[in-house]
């Protein structure tokens, strides 16, 4: 940590780093990156189920955060702002990709959950991560945003350009599919 940080709390250190980064201090921004990268990457990875894309999107999110940092006004916590920006970065790309694909992913079940790579000797945590990764795209996004990231249906609907009712329906679908898989 650069500068006198001996008596500062973690929150105060983070605030100081944000202020420095807002003034153009790239070193302070690197420290913010180190503090937040795991959570940002986790959001990108869980929303895309693709390590390579998640890495690229994590970089996109931090570059965007650097560019928009001057407009950050502390109306929300920096973490909340950064996570929201990350989700929007991913969803923006998802929308662009969907437009290119011109197709709707409509997988109805998770019957293929055990196909693909040979199963590794993993714990419950990895089983759940794998099951989430194989959910239909929109159900997965809603599940990650609602149950993992803690967004409300209204917020999810706004971010995804859909209705709160659709978000609820997708969550219901995701939970039902996951329950079935995890109960096997």
């Amino acid at each position: 940590m650069h500068g006198p940080s001996g008596n500062l709390t973690e929150g105060e250190i983070a605030r100081e780093l944000v202020r420095k980064a807002q003034r153009g201090d790239l070193q302070a921004f690197e420290e913010l990156y180190r503090m937040h990268v795991d959570r940002v990457y986790a959001i990108c990875f869980r929303l895309t189920s693709d390590e390579e894309r998640a890495e690229k999107l994590t970089q996109d999110a931090f570059v965007k955060a650097w560019e928009k940092l001057k407009t950050f006004r502390w109306k929300a916590a920096f973490t909340t702002w950064l996570h929201r920006l990350t989700v929007n970065t991913v969803l923006q790309e998802e929308r662009a990709i969907s437009r290119l694909r011109h197709r709707e992913i409509s997988t109805g079940d998770l019957s293929n959950v055990d196909s693909g790579e040979s199963p590794k000797p993993t714990g419950e945590r990895i089983d759940l991560e794998r099951a989430i990764a194989q959910l239909p795209e929109r159900a997965r996004i809603v599940f990650v945003l609602h149950d993992i990231e803690g967004y409300r249906h209204k917020e999810i609907a706004e971010m995804m350009g859909t209705s709160a009712g659709t978000s609820k329906a997708q969550l219901h679908r995701a939970r039902t599919l996951l329950r079935k898989v995890l109960d096997r």
Partner: protein, 221 residues
């Protein structure tokens, strides 16, 4: 309540969003229905396990060098742009005097008739070039003034817009700025081309329109 109704209410129940009036009926059913009870237990288990994975995941490699590289590249580009635009403006200013002289010649003497055809054509084309530069510089100053004024007036209120809206505005602004940049580059290659001048002007009009629309959006919140 029937089992299929319970299934639809189960998410609201565990999320704490089930209306008070429905809770008793829901709990009564669960207490007497083994199948629904099992489903509720499964759902609670899923939510507990989801809570456990709600942490961070470390990426396979350090992503910072890529981020730093992109930030530095953008900074360099901005520096280049900020250098290029004032240079262009100062070039325009120096041309104003020269072109004014030419305009006087054009106005009072037309183009001297004793000059041969080649020389006259060259002077006419130079005159068109200079007039194009002067009028475009004035047009750019006009639109830049309006854009900067609009941006200044809405900048502090931009946070009121959602991230999605901001991202869309940002994306559109990027496209318009690129169009301005491209039109300007094309125009600089041939300042006598009125069509290129019109394209540049049109790109600026789009920028002003987008800023006005954003201001309207903020007002409506």
């Amino acid at each position: 309540m029937k089992c299929n109704e319970i299934e639809h209410l189960m998410n609201d129940y565990v999320d704490g969003t089930l209306p008070e009036a429905a809770i008793t009926a829901f709990e009564d059913h669960i207490a007497h229905c083994t199948a629904c009870n099992t489903e509720l237990t499964q759902l609670r288990t899923l939510m507990k396990r989801t809570e456990e994975i709600s942490g961070g995941i470390s990426p396979r490699r350090d992503l910072w060098p890529g981020i730093e590289g992109r930030i530095e590249e953008k900074d360099r580009k901005e520096e280049r742009d900020s250098f290029r635009i004032p240079a262009y403006r100062s070039h325009i200013r120096s041309l104003v005097a020269a072109a004014a002289t030419l305009l006087i010649i054009a106005g009072s003497l037309t183009i001297p008739r004793f000059l041969d055809k080649g020389m006259r054509s060259l002077m006419e084309s130079e005159l068109r070039w200079n007039i194009g530069m002067i009028t475009t510089a004035a047009m750019e100053q006009h639109y830049q003034g309006i854009s900067e004024g609009l941006f200044y007036s809405i900048s502090k209120d931009l946070v009121a817009l959602s991230e999605t809206t901001l991202a869309i505005i940002d994306e559109h602004m990027q496209i318009i700025d690129n169009a301005i940049e491209d039109s300007r580059a094309a125009f600089m290659n041939d300042p006598s081309d009125a069509e290129l001048q019109s394209m540049l002007s049109s790109a600026y009009q789009h920028k002003v329109a987008l800023l006005q629309w954003t201001a309207q959006l903020i007002t409506n919140i």
